[in-house]
Symmetry: C2
Subunit: 214 residues, 2 copies
Amino acid sequence: MRLYNYFRSSASFRVRIALKYKGLPYDYARVHLLNDGGQQFAPSFRALNPDSLIPVLDDGGQVLTQSLAIIEYLEETRPEPPLLPREAGERAYVRSIALAIACEIHPLNNLRVLRYLVKTLGLSEEQKNIWYRHWVEQGLASLEARLVAEGRSGRYALGDAITIADVVIVPQIFNAQRMDCNLSAVPAVMRIFDHCMQLPAFVDAQPSRQPDAG
Amino acid sequence: MRLYNYFRSSASFRVRIALKYKGLPYDYARVHLLNDGGQQFAPSFRALNPDSLIPVLDDGGQVLTQSLAIIEYLEETRPEPPLLPREAGERAYVRSIALAIACEIHPLNNLRVLRYLVKTLGLSEEQKNIWYRHWVEQGLASLEARLVAEGRSGRYALGDAITIADVVIVPQIFNAQRMDCNLSAVPAVMRIFDHCMQLPAFVDAQPSRQPDAG
């Protein structure tokens, strides 16, 4: 398998965790989002993914896009160790946590959105950072409230087994820390984060350990 | 089952299509996003979903959030007729289309984001509408390019069977039309839309047919 990705991209980070957690080796194909005017816009990459978005996973010629679709594919084709529980209600629960981050927080802080805010709307760096922190802090506060209300967490988001929820939470916290978001209001989320970061799959997948980390 | 939703919410619309396509009856619980300062912020609703987001599906006391997680749950608990193909690569393909809309287009045009643009950043109505159309048109252009490049569409996004991709495409087109987006550049997407809108599940789930349509 070959993963087209960028060390700092949190969607890439999700897929790296899943691959490592399942013990699946892969080639690391670098797509630098800032160099060369953005390598994701190069014709060779656009031929792979017209969205100009990473990650892209090539599994023996099968080209897959969108991090959560890739992780579901890995779960279906390499089910052990699992990233989804067995029971439908629990599967829906961990998927909803993953989606709450992937659909409600992360898209607002994507590189192209931040660029639009600054270049097209003329926002200052300070306003851009306030925007960033606003959506991260609000989104994580909702997640915290849900985790506490549901009471289903153990070491991880659902009991003591790693799921797709944890795979998506951890990269979001890395982003939040890099942007100096206030995380003091989300202790339940941070407890999950700390437990995950004791596992080799999460540690090895983190941005600073990637070959393109600069 | 009981669906907490709002006629115009496209995430609600996705779940209504899935329920109707699978022939599953449900109670329609109204959550008006504009009345009473937003009924999604009422304590009674926040107890159900701290995210203050719709749709929420209550299936015999099992409370489910996030439209795509709800649809996957329905697929797992009521598999016929299916909304996912059988083969893993095809499942990844249709999920990636659903996610490309749910993660790249829709979150940027959410009510709360548009409010932030106007109320916090002081954008004009005109700037807000340009923002809206920008992300819809760019996102749909990417989808169009992908559909054409992959060549897997028939009447619908994947061949001639309805999948989760179609369930997510149709509500996005309704939003695009309501906001006067230019759809002339995406004929492959619109062909799928037109075919879907010949089916009762899609017709019956549309905003104007809901009890709270005003």
